[in-house]
């Protein structure tokens, strides 16, 4: 009996320990992130690391971003140049990929240990600004520490929440459809710079009839937002107020295209995930097109092998649009954190990063078309033919673009997840557009309301 008791006890410990292994993984995410951070922390230049209070003396800034290896190398190079020019500043860098970045940032914020400068995304800006994690940059813009002479006010606005500028854009990007030019040529279709959805459906049909290559129609948050814009409305405003209109319109297009034989099957689409560059259906011509953003042009081109010619056009709009839905959006920002001890030094670095031609010559527009127009012009002269496609496209968009929607509200990522599931349901034919809209809007409303508290 005693033996039995011991075995019961041991098993209970086993259950708890293994389960803890599961829950402590969450805790581990923090420590391992810190470890990788330590692993990638580079301390170049500047032997004197004492951190005295006087400005002008040695200052250590921590800077973190997400990105690919290309971005890491380029940014590192630019930072070394900055430290060479400003011997009193030492910049420690930390970088990860996108998926791990926000987990890491959230845990650091919880511990009050955010780096001085963080790369910020449009979709997270609101959340971080409203929880007082970011410093207000207006003072530095007024005093001239950050020079905004060649930066359009709409770009400053895009990094602002309630009139306070919390983030400075590092580049612009615009919604862009990429397509395989050879396929379109073989089908003999002319694609306008911005087709209406009806024209778009015709094009898809023609291409499928002539070449047998199906098409893809983006149905996520970007497209629903786009359709709302074309209707002269704003998607999150509609969702917050429980308005069905844009959602229903969007879902009806999804439904129409999902059931068409010229569209990729939902089974195959789920495999060729268009959210990830490396698995996009355009790569093996499972579809002739893919919906993305202009700053991804070069990497999609690379993923396609770099030898195919990829044409571009704007997302299709509504036949009876009330407003041009195409917009320019900041790809990413730099923000100074509220916990930073050297906010002014951090602002100085951001100013240099955004406005310095030499720095941007190194960066090569990898974070999107530079916000500073003079810098963008000088960088343009240095990119190759493939990079130029994205540049020309953004220039084209710039002629017609209307102001971007305000940053996404807190809770948006959960809304997006609900949307993804419902769109899948429509694609698989389990639900009608009408039913899906009736489910989506109230659910989104609840999520947004709860997250806003």
């Amino acid at each position: 009996m005693k033996k039995r008791m011991i075995s019961v006890l041991l098993a209970m410990v086993l259950v708890l320990c293994t389960l803890c292994g599961c829950s402590s993984n969450e805790g581990n995410a923090d420590t391992s992130a810190d470890q990788t951070a330590a692993g990638t922390t580079t301390l170049a230049g500047g032997e004197n690391r004492s951190t005295s209070d006087n400005a002008g003396e040695s200052v250590t800034l921590r800077l973190c971003w997400w990105g690919s290896q290309t971005r890491n190398d380029l940014t590192q190079k630019a930072i070394e140049l900055y430290m060479e020019k400003n011997p009193n500043v030492v910049i420690e860098t930390e970088f990860t990929d996108w998926s791990g970045y926000w987990d890491k940032l959230a845990t650091q914020a919880a511990g009050g240990g955010l780096p001085d400068i963080i790369q910020m995304d449009y979709s997270y800006l609101n959340q971080y600004a409203s929880s007082n994690q970011l410093a207000d940059l207006n003072g530095f813009i007024e005093s001239g520490v950050i020079d905004t002479e060649n930066i359009s006010s709409s770009i400053i606005e895009s990094g602002s929440v309630d009139g306070k500028c919390y983030a400075l854009s590092l580049g612009s990007t615009a919604p862009m459809v990429l397509y395989d030019k050879a396929t379109a040529d073989a089908a003999g279709v002319e694609i306008p710079m911005q087709p209406t959805l009806e024209e778009y459906v015709d094009i898809c049909q023609k291409i499928y009839e002539k070449t047998g290559v199906p098409s893809y129609f983006e149905s996520g948050i970007t497209m629903i937002q786009y359709i709302a814009r074309a209707r002269g409305s704003e998607i999150y405003e509609e969702l917050e107020n429980g308005v069905l209109d844009s959602t229903l319109e969007h879902f009806q297009w999804v439904e129409k295209l999902a059931q068409a034989e010229f569209c990729i099957s939902p089974e195959l689409l789920s495999e060729k995930n268009p959210q990830v560059v490396e698995s996009m259906p355009i790569i093996d011509l499972s579809t002739w097109n893919v919906f993305s953003f202009s700053n991804a042009y070069v990497s999609i081109n690379d993923a396609c092998g770099g030898e195919r010619e990829l044409g571009v056009f704007m997302y299709p709009t509504l036949p009876d649009e009330k407003k041009q839905p195409e917009y320019l959006k900041p790809t990413m920002f730099f923000s100074v954190t509220e916990t930073s001890k050297y906010k002014e030094e951090a602002a100085k670095f951001i100013d240099w990063f955004v406005n310095d031609k030499e720095c941007n010559a190194i960066l090569g527009g990898e974070r999107g078309i530079p916000a500073n127009t003079a810098v963008a012009e000088s960088v343009k002269g240095q990119v190759d033919a493939i990079g130029a496609v994205a540049y020309d496209f953004v220039a084209e968009v710039n002629k017609v673009a209307t102001t971007v929607d305000p940053p996404n509200p807190a809770g948006y990522s959960e809304v997006e997840a609900v949307l993804t599931t419902l769109v899948e349901d429509i694609r698989y034919g389990n639900i009608t557009a009408q039913e899906a809209a009736k489910q989506f809007v109230p659910q989104a409303q609840t999520i947004l309301k709860e997250a806003a508290q």
């Binding site: 829950s23 402590s24 845990t107 919880a110 089974e267 995930n273 349901d425 698989y428």
Partner: protein, 303 residues
Amino acid sequence: MRAKKKSWKQQLNQGKVAGYIFILPFIIGFVCFISFPMIMSLAFSFTKYDILTAPKFAGLDNYITMFTQDKLFWKTFGVTMYYVFFSVPLRLIMALLVALLLVKSSRLSGFYRTVYYLPSIIGSSVAVAILWKRMFASDGVINALLGLVGIDSATAWLGRTDTAIWTLILLAVWQFGSSMLIFLAGLKQIPAYLYEAATVDGAGAITKFFKVTLPMLTPTIFFNLINQLINGFMAFTQSFIITEGKPQNSTLFYVVYMYQNSFKYNKLGYGCAMAWFMVLVVGGLTALIFLSQKKWVYYESER
């Protein structure tokens, strides 16, 4: 003074104290990295905590939302139960079958054991997850093999709600190595005289297996069952990397949904509540299996 010192030394020399000192590193680790976070997570489960701002007490709100409003919560719970219900028994059967084949020692048995054990070391890694994704792609190895035997298939195995979960179950079954090793050890402990006696009584191979091997192996099966059950509920990488819960959330595991809530939607309080519900469920199931062991587990020492 002197006496005190002596007693201190004496105390240190007692076996009991020395034992505690030796396990001190573990105890510190256990308290700091397991007990403390666990208690914290229990506390967080009663709060609304978005990680960026301080947690706010919310009473039983998280639990109420979980049980009454969150449809996806029940869906992921169902998906996980389905996965566990099929993957655990299948894995154990597979492990037992291979163990039976490998129990007879031959010159190559060491080699085979290593080879069959390998998947359970690398099986839950990200690399294998990506490999699996490629294998079951519409233009992947599985369809190519089916083509070779005359079945022309372009099925996107991971894109169909009815097959996607089974590719994950298959991956779990493939990782039978650690259970297999334990079964091997169990098989070797069955005394040879039992088999000899059975042979004398005229039992065939199948009768021997069901009348001797299986009953003698029940403690091992019992141990493996509990171990694998807990492991099954913790499955994360497969769903997170291979399918990302797709299609239509048919492969969204409970733990992945918990992770999404905690770190993607920044609802850590809710994630903690989910974690504690999981502890209760797994604890409950384990207790049930323990209670049932009287009925089917045979301990030699008890007779």
